[in-house]
């Protein structure tokens, strides 16, 4: 599969006209047609329906179009931007995070991107998964990390980055503190602290608390405030494991197969990536996120301690 074949096919897919596509690509129409035919042969069937005055994508053409757009963009980024990455031109990256995804999770990969893309200008924003999807489609954010990606539709590309368990956060004097884990049934009768707003937690609540009636007491929109309440003994808080914790809190894992969630990376299908976004998406899709989940709550003084004194 060659670059020019894909480029010519995408030009026809865009213009739905072989003559205009050939003009656009600055080649003769027979050369363009031959290249598209070779691509069709490789992909195992016609990508375009050619009728006298009408050119349309076949089902196979529609199926492969987004991926070929992405691969061509990635290949062109390889050819044209490896040197540009190093330039100090402003490279904006707007990253959306759902409320239960901490910025602490993405700092290290973003620092790596900054090392290679010195012009990186980062903008972080927080919104519910549903709002983040709308913001992606409107171009208000370039990528988003979120849980509960249910209604993404076919205009969003998404990848599961990692699975994460939920823990129960309690103050150091709480009877749960020091337990290696607790069961959902242990939460019966406890005063739970409630996060207000949509964050995929509603479905989580329904799943986790099926058959167990939680007693929600105090509420807030913000994890920091909820953690302060938990540390002061106002109740117990269910929190994703990676969430950086107030120093007065102890995390107790939940003994449950359902107290897990997946975090997804989402971008808009077919939209061209900026150099900063290209680098971030690539890093995100290979990174060992389980390390980040564990490290956000390590004692900083112990992170640099020698393994053997």
């Amino acid at each position: 599969m060659e670059l020019h074949q894909v480029r010519y096919f995408l030009a026809v897919a865009k213009t739905l006209n072989f003559t205009r596509a050939a003009e656009h690509c600055n080649v003769t129409q027979p050369a363009l047609t031959k290249a598209v035919q070779k691509l069709e042969h490789e992909l195992g069937g016609p990508l375009l329906l050619r009728e006298r005055n009408l050119t349309q994508l076949t089902d196979l053409g529609k199926q492969v179009l987004p991926m070929l757009e992405r691969t061509l963009a990635s290949a062109e980024a390889v050819r044209t931007t490896a040197r540009e990455f190093g330039r100090r031109e402003v490279a904006p990256l707007r990253l959306g995070l759902s409320p239960s995804v901490s910025a602490a999770l993405v700092l290290q990969p973003l620092a790596d991107v900054l090392d290679h893309v010195p012009g990186l200008r980062l903008e972080l924003c927080e919104a519910s998964p549903e709002v983040l999807v709308a913001m992606l489609l409107n171009g208000e954010v370039n990528a988003a990390l979120m849980d509960g990606l249910d209604a993404s539709g076919d205009r969003i590309d998404s990848w599961t980055l990692f699975r994460e368990r939920f823990v129960v956060l309690v103050d150091a004097e709480h009877p749960f503190a020091g337990n290696s884990e607790i069961g959902l049934e242990d939460l019966r009768g406890q005063t739970m602290l409630e996060r207000v707003g949509h964050d995929g937690r509603d479905s989580f609540r329904q799943t986790v608390f099926e058959g167990v009636e939680p007693r929600f007491g105090h509420r807030s929109k913000h994890d920091t405030q909820l953690q302060h309440l938990a540390a002061a003994g106002f109740g117990v808080l269910i929190s994703p494991e990676h969430m950086p914790r107030h120093p007065g809190l102890m995390a107790v894992p939940l003994r449950s197969d359902v107290a897990w969630r997946e975090i997804h990376l989402a971008v808009v299908q077919g939209r061209r990536y900026s150099p900063a976004l290209e680098a971030f998406v690539k890093v995100a899709r290979l990174r060992d996120w389980s390390l980040a989940v564990r490290s956000t709550n390590l004692d900083p003084s112990r992170q640099h301690a020698p393994a053997h004194p």
Partner: protein, 216 residues
């Protein structure tokens, strides 16, 4: 035992494990790749190698410009940690790595595997290699070594428990033709080995000879 003999022996061992379906799949794919001229557009000696920025097995970005700052680069495209010919090649490259480094070169291997798969490969074989993830196939396409995997082959691997597209995070599954490039400090390709018969890989001895040319 010379490296070439060792490679031939490993290849024979892999073939010895083949059943009828494996042989049929192997012959069909190699024949089809030759028929469509899949390697015809691959970059050749004397051409400029496209520079890239790709994540390694830990998700840290590796720049080809930085790789070739101090010497030539050996860049080897392999199909994935699921491919026995590839793991055999990577073992041979691992053995030769110190000799490449003694010749002033950096070695990097690249496949479309994403997520934990490159880390798993490194751990399973104890590799100390720069293993890069060609996310979305951009580098393989830029080098002209990319092909779309025929549906029959995908089904063959699925029956063996290998979900190639799932490893790539891609709805359309593509693979590189195994290829090894030696690129000099200026970014010019000084050696290119591109072989649609994916059981054949370049002898590390030949790579070393190319490196000696590069630093001459």
């Amino acid at each position: 035992m010379s490296r070439r003999m060792s490679h031939d022996r490993v290849r024979s061992e892999i073939f010895a494990e083949f059943n009828d379906e494996d042989w049929s799949s192997y012959r069909q794919l190699v024949g089809w790749l030759r028929e469509i001229g899949a390697a015809d557009g691959a970059l050749k000696v004397g051409e400029q190698a496209p520079d890239f920025l790709l994540p390694d097995a830990d998700g840290n970005l590796v720049s080809s410009v930085r790789l070739r700052e101090k010497g030539p680069v050996v860049l080897s495209f392999y199909q994935g940690g699921w491919c026995p010919f590839c793991t055999a090649e990577l073992r041979a490259l691992q053995e030769a790595k110190s000799e490449f480094e003694a010749a002033g070169a950096n070695l990097a291997v690249v496949s479309p595997d994403t997520r934990h798969f490159p880390r798993q490969l490194r751990k399973e074989y104890g590799f100390d290699l720069t293993i890069l993830g060609d996310v979305d196939y951009g580098v393989a396409m830029a080098y002209g070594v990319l092909f779309a995997v025929p549906e029959g082959l995908l089904q063959h691997y699925a029956r063996r428990g290998v979900d190639i597209g799932g490893r790539h995070g891609s709805p359309v599954t593509m693979l590189p033709i195994p290829a090894t490039y030696v690129i000099d400090r200026r970014g010019t390709i000084i050696s290119a080995f591109v072989e649609p018969d994916y059981a054949l890989r370049q002898d590390p001895e030949e790579i070393l000879n190319a490196l000696k040319e590069a630093v001459r």
